[in-house]
């Protein structure tokens, strides 16, 4: 029983990083009904800038964190300006492919900065372990869990208690009516994008400091994990992102424990596939989406 609980705990810990990533993804998808494949690579740009600074000058860790988040926001704004803002409503596929093209760009830019496969990254806690009775937890991951809960609470407050949130929700419901009400749709979307990238930047920084290293796989990893967690939890919903992230973490931890690392990924994809077929709206389903960030009737983000 104790190993089982320990594995579950481990899963929840790792899952909190997925949840954080999914939060940013859900914000973008919830508002734009578009998929930003460059989400992970934007985080990678921030992380690589932070790493570059860390290797060259060894600044305090908080400076690295600030640079990582700022870099991610800058890259996010670049992506929004190039791939989302100029393409009209209904150009969902073009936006997605365009964000993929920029993925290639951001990844190569990162590798030009730091060409090796992996580099050290500063840790927040020195990577120590804490014992809680029979269980072991890593404070790094507790920080991540706390960050995830704090950010989702802050995001919920932002959406439901501020003018910016009101505008954002109005745009999600009907962007024409929103603009006729005096809401600056383009600016609000850009702000939402920057915010999502900032959340991604924080997620990236926390994950890397827990791992104490950064690898060239970061971009793809962050996009895929964030996307899968969001899909498992429920499209574009904040509670869904958290539930999805934690569920993905637990599924991975148990299947890795039972069958090894290859089956870990297989299990995650299999669960995702079966879930999509049986319950396309994700665990928290459509109602959660509607309550969370609104969803337009027909999900026609696809072609045309």
């Amino acid at each position: 029983m104790i190993p089982f609980i320990q594995t579950t705990l481990d899963g929840l810990m790792v899952g909190s990083s997925y949840g954080l990533l999914a939060l940013g993804f859900a914000l973008i998808f919830g508002v734009m009904r578009r998929l930003n494949l460059s989400y992970g690579p934007s985080i990678m740009i921030g992380a690589y800038l932070g790493t570059l600074l860390y290797i060259k000058f060894g600044p305090p860790t908080y400076v690295v964190a600030i640079v990582a988040v700022a870099g991610s926001v800058m890259a996010g704004i670049y992506v929004e300006r190039l791939c989302f803002a100029p393409l009209g409503v209904g150009a969902g596929v073009a936006s997605m492919v365009s964000s993929f093209a920029i993925w290639m760009q951001l990844e190569q830019a990162s590798l030009l900065m730091l060409p090796r496969h992996s580099y050290p990254f500063p840790s927040l806690t020195g990577g120590e372990l804490w014992s809680l009775g029979p269980f072991v937890v890593r404070p790094d991951y507790l920080i991540m869990l706390a960050a995830m809960l704090a950010m989702s609470a802050a995001l919920t407050l932002l959406l439901y208690r501020t003018r910016f949130g009101l505008g954002l929700r109005a745009i999600v419901e009907n962007s024409l009516a929103a603009s006729l009400s005096g809401i600056d749709v383009e600016r609000t979307m850009l702000k939402a994008f920057a915010l999502a990238s900032a959340i991604g930047g924080v997620a990236g920084f926390l994950v890397l400091s827990a791992n104490q290293q950064v690898t060239a796989m970061l971009g793809m990893w962050a996009t895929l994990k964030g996307l899968i967690a969001m899909m498992i939890g429920g499209l574009g919903s904040i509670p869904g992102a958290i539930v999805g992230g934690l569920a993905l973490g637990v599924i991975e931890a148990h299947s890795q424990n039972l069958f090894g690392p290859q089956v870990r990924d297989l299990a995650a994809y299999a669960v995702l596939f079966v879930l999509l077929v049986l319950r396309p709206g994700g665990i928290l389903g459509t109602t959660a989406v509607r309550r969370g960030m609104g969803q337009r009737g027909g999900d026609r983000w696809t072609t045309t």
Binding site: F29, L35, L37, L82, C83, P86, L87, G88, A91, G92, V93, A94, S95, M96, V97, S98, F100, A101, I102, W103, M104, Q105, L106, E107, Q108, A109, L112, M220, L224, L227, I228, M231, L235, Q262, V263, D265, L266, Y269, A270, L272, F273, L276, V277, P280, G298, D299, R300, W301, T302, T303, T304
Partner: protein, 313 residues
């Protein structure tokens, strides 16, 4: 032609099959991140048929195409009622699961004192049929382009048929198509199967071209690339995806221009291109105009164009 050039041209031909496969689904309005899975299944199957069972090449290709179609049917049944992002992610999950299954897949026999067959993450080496049977690189390139030409011809016939019209109708608006009497699910399933067949056939050619496949080749990157090809080249005609492949592999990957900055240049170009032409270089309007110019006299719009009339207004 020197060997290097033949290699590049053959590669373009083979990758065009996955691009066409993704394009076919795009016509019905669905985005698949997973066509590389059928490409992989076709590659492994045809490799097993020729290199391990030592059956003729044509049989290998046929088996690759058939397993591609069968797999597409199997995945299509549960997933085709999904839409948009859900469908896209379901195909992604399937394709990644397939890739990992190939990482776990071991099936080897001894042939001429050597172990042959898929060996998990190491991949499947020595699919040497074309060398053992003295097919030259040029001949193999001609085989690839013969089959690609036949596939394209088939797609052209398809696009002029009622089925092709039904594809585009569903792509525009499946509810509207249903009210016009199009049986949406069977038509989509047909599209998925055809797409699987094309990818499977391409996979068989790929395995024999490179003589070696490994699971890592068939990752999400290949899937998203094949989707991007259609969008870069254009969604108006089956030549669109081909143009996309030629631009990417032919111009950028093969020439050593911009070495080290290739992705920065290519990524930027594609992003700017999509701002100017969100449905690719050869989009429906351009294709329509070319067709009219070729016919030299104005004609009432064929069925296809009324379906797409929304785009013009």
């Amino acid at each position: 032609m020197d060997d290097h050039l033949i290699g590049i041209v053959s590669n373009i031909g083979v990758i065009s099959f996955v691009a066409l496969s993704a394009y076919l689904l795009l016509l019905t309005g669905e985005i698949s991140f997973g066509q590389q899975a059928f490409f992989a299944i076709g590659a492994y199957t045809s490799g097993i048929v020729t290199a391990m069972w030592q059956l003729p090449f044509a049989l290998g290709l046929g088996a690759g195409a058939a397993t591609g179609a069968a797999a597409a049917l199997l995945v299509g049944l549960p997933t085709l009622r999904l839409h948009g992002l859900q469908f896209a992610i379901a195909t992604l999950a399937f394709a990644e699961a397939v890739r990992i299954l190939f990482e776990l897949f071991r099936y080897q026999i001894v042939r001429d004192g050597e172990l042959v067959g898929p060996n998990g993450i190491e991949g499947f080496r020595n699919i040497r049929y074309i060398f053992e049977n003295d097919v030259s690189a040029t001949e193999f390139m001609l085989i690839i382009y013969g089959l690609l030409g036949a596939t394209l011809f088939g797609l052209f016939l398809l696009e002029r048929s009622r089925l092709g019209t039904a594809f585009r109708m569903i792509g525009e608006d499946d509810l509207l198509a249903a009210t016009q009497g199009v049986a949406v699910v069977p038509v989509k399933l047909t599209a998925a199967c055809l797409a699987g067949t094309i990818a499977g056939l391409g996979g068989g050619l790929y395995a024999h071209l490179t003589t070696y496949v490994e699971p890592a080749i068939f990752d999400v990157m290949l899937g998203v690339h094949s989707l991007a090809y259609g969008l870069i080249g254009g969604l108006g005609t089956a030549f669109g995806p081909l143009l996309g492949v030629v631009i990417d592999i032919g111009l950028l990957e093969s020439t050593r221009w911009f070495a080290g900055y290739r992705m920065i240049v290519f990524g930027g170009l594609v992003a700017v291109l999509l701002i100017v032409r969100p449905r690719g270089l050869l989009d429906e309007q351009l294709v329509h105009r070319i067709r009219r110019a070729v016919r030299r006299r104005p004609r009432p719009s064929p069925a296809n164009d009324t379906v797409l009339g929304k785009e013009l207004s």
